[in-house]
């Protein structure tokens, strides 16, 4: 079973040299810590920055320089700052190669819900609806089950949707899945170290399939 950093580490392996990448809030933010040194990647922050660097050293925080999670950050050499309309322009125009975001629920057809629990919690969708509607390559980083132990990989989402049939890949503490948006279903691609196919099957409420032997993740 992976912890949050383990999920981030596995997702970092999906990032290729030359990619522009948008990282959402939460586990996706951690992915930046595991990008290999030998590839060049530019991180986009949707408030209006390309070239996001690490957190600043204490005393060097700049209130004019934050990421989409409102955290103080730094800029790397070659960075560019722009307004929020251009930021979503480049997202809509599919200039961003990879988007990684969190989710409350994902359906077997690749629907995603991550912005609202009616009557309980209303945070808003922020940029998530724009990202899932336009991005060509989205990976969801999420826990396989909620606090009540119920699967978050469902036949259909129960919460208000963020986007329809847009998620192709999900990485959890237990597994890596491919989503079959045509026929519906979670195809198990990899197991977390020490986790069996049966354990993953039992934690997946949506349709579940495998293709031959399922390898363990290489981290």
């Amino acid at each position: 079973m992976l912890d949050k950093n383990g999920i981030a580490k596995r997702i970092a392996k999906e990032i290729k040299d030359g990619y522009y990448v948008n990282l959402g809030i939460g586990i996706p933010t951690l992915v930046a810590n595991y990008i290999p040194d030998d590839i060049s990647v530019v991180l986009q922050s949707e408030n209006g920055l390309l070239g996001m660097g690490p957190f600043p050293y204490e005393g060097e925080e700049d209130p004019d320089l934050i990421n989409a999670g409102k955290q103080t950050i730094t800029m790397l050499p070659g960075s560019a700052v722009f307004d929020s309309a251009m930021s979503f322009g480049m997202i809509r125009a599919q200039k961003v190669d990879l988007t990684i975001l969190g989710a409350m629920e994902v359906s077997e057809y690749g629907d995603i819900a991550n912005w609202k629990i009616p009557g309980k919690l209303v945070k808003g969708m922020g940029g998530a609806m724009d990202l899932v509607a336009s991005a060509k390559n989205i990976i969801v980083a999420m826990q396989q089950v909620n606090r009540a132990g119920e699967s978050k990989l469902l036949p259909a989402c129960t919460l208000p949707l963020t986007g329809v049939r847009c998620i192709r890949k999900v990485v959890t503490e237990m597994a890596v899945f491919e989503v079959d948006a045509e026929n519906g279903g979670f195809c198990l691609l990899e197991r977390a170290p020490g986790v069996s196919v049966d354990e993953i099957r039992n934690a997946t409420a949506g349709r579940f399939s495998t293709r031959g032997d399922v390898p363990e993740m290489q981290l």
């Binding site: 922050s45 949707e46 408030n47 209006g48 920055l49 690490p54 957190f55 600043p56 050293y57 204490e58 060097e60 925080e61 700049d62 209130p63 004019d64 320089l65 934050i66 990421n67 999670g69 409102k70 955290q71 103080t72 950050i73 800029m75 700052v81 722009f82 307004d83 929020s84 309309a85 930021s87 979503f88 322009g89 997202i91 809509r92 912005w115 609202k116 009557g119 919690l121 209303v122 945070k123 808003g124 969708m125 922020g126 940029g127 998530a128 609806m129 724009d130 509607a133 336009s134 208000p160 949707l161 963020t162 986007g163 329809v164």
Partner: protein, 232 residues
């Protein structure tokens, strides 16, 4: 050059009355027009519709206006940092329209570019699409979203000149340039106000034609919402 300078926030918001629609620049607490917000709170203007990406925090930014019940309706994309906001929303005291961040930004842009509407895929198939026209282009569905109309747009810039030309700093740019283009009356408060000719025309982000009133703000707190640092 036309001189757009007013002395302070009080003069800048002259003519703002109850029930108006305001656009307020900023992302989180970054690049928000602190002086004008404080003045609106002081004057107690009420029944306002506010268009802003976020709603501040409980004791800063638009949160101050919410606390005094000056806001009738909030149009925003993310409001997760404000407990008083959430309380007013869940109790039905506050009318709220949550819209995707890119839609919010582009509806401002459309207003400033003189276009009545945009088409965006954001929100197709979700509750955001309810009651909206859907058009199919090239096999993909898009929602028609209307350009915003705002009585006042209030933005914060880093430097500005007396003719209203503006330059923003770092990610404090965010929604400010696009909202600056979208107000019937646009107010810019700046950290540094210079004479015409002192800003390089090649470096201007907002041309002064969009700005009606400009003043040098004072006592900027520039509060940091999430102070995150790495180990030395």
């Amino acid at each position: 050059m036309i001189n757009k300078v007013v002395n302070n926030a009080q003069e800048a918001i002259a003519g703002m009355t109850d029930g108006m629609t305001l656009m307020l620049g900023g992302f989180g607490l970054c690049g928000i027009p602190e002086n004008c917000i404080n003045e609106i709170v002081k004057q107690g203007i009420t029944g306002l519709t506010c268009i802003s990406n976020n709603a501040g925090v409980d004791d800063f930014g638009i949160g101050l206006m919410l606390r005094k019940r000056q806001v009738k309706k909030m149009i925003a994309s993310y409001v997760g940092e404000n407990a008083e906001f959430e309380r007013q929303l869940l109790s039905g005291e506050l009318d709220v329209e949550l819209i995707p961040q890119g839609t919010l930004a582009t509806r401002c842009l459309a207003a400033g570019y003189g276009m009545p509407a945009i088409f965006t895929p954001a929100g197709v198939g979700t509750e955001v699409a309810e009651g909206k026209e859907v058009r199919n282009f090239g096999g993909k569905d898009y929602l028609m979203e209307m350009a915003f109309e705002a009585d006042f747009a209030i933005v914060k810039a880093w430097r500005g000149d007396t003719a209203g030309n503006l330059i923003y700093r770092r990610t404090a740019r965010n929604f400010n340039p696009i909202m600056a283009m979208a107000g019937k009356i646009t107010i810019a408060e700046v950290e540094e106000l210079v004479e015409v000719g002192e800003l390089d025309p090649d470096h201007i982000h907002t041309p002064g034609i969009y700005v009606h009133r400009i003043f040098r703000g004072t006592d900027y707190e520039k509060r940091i919402e999430q102070r995150t640092v790495r180990a030395n």
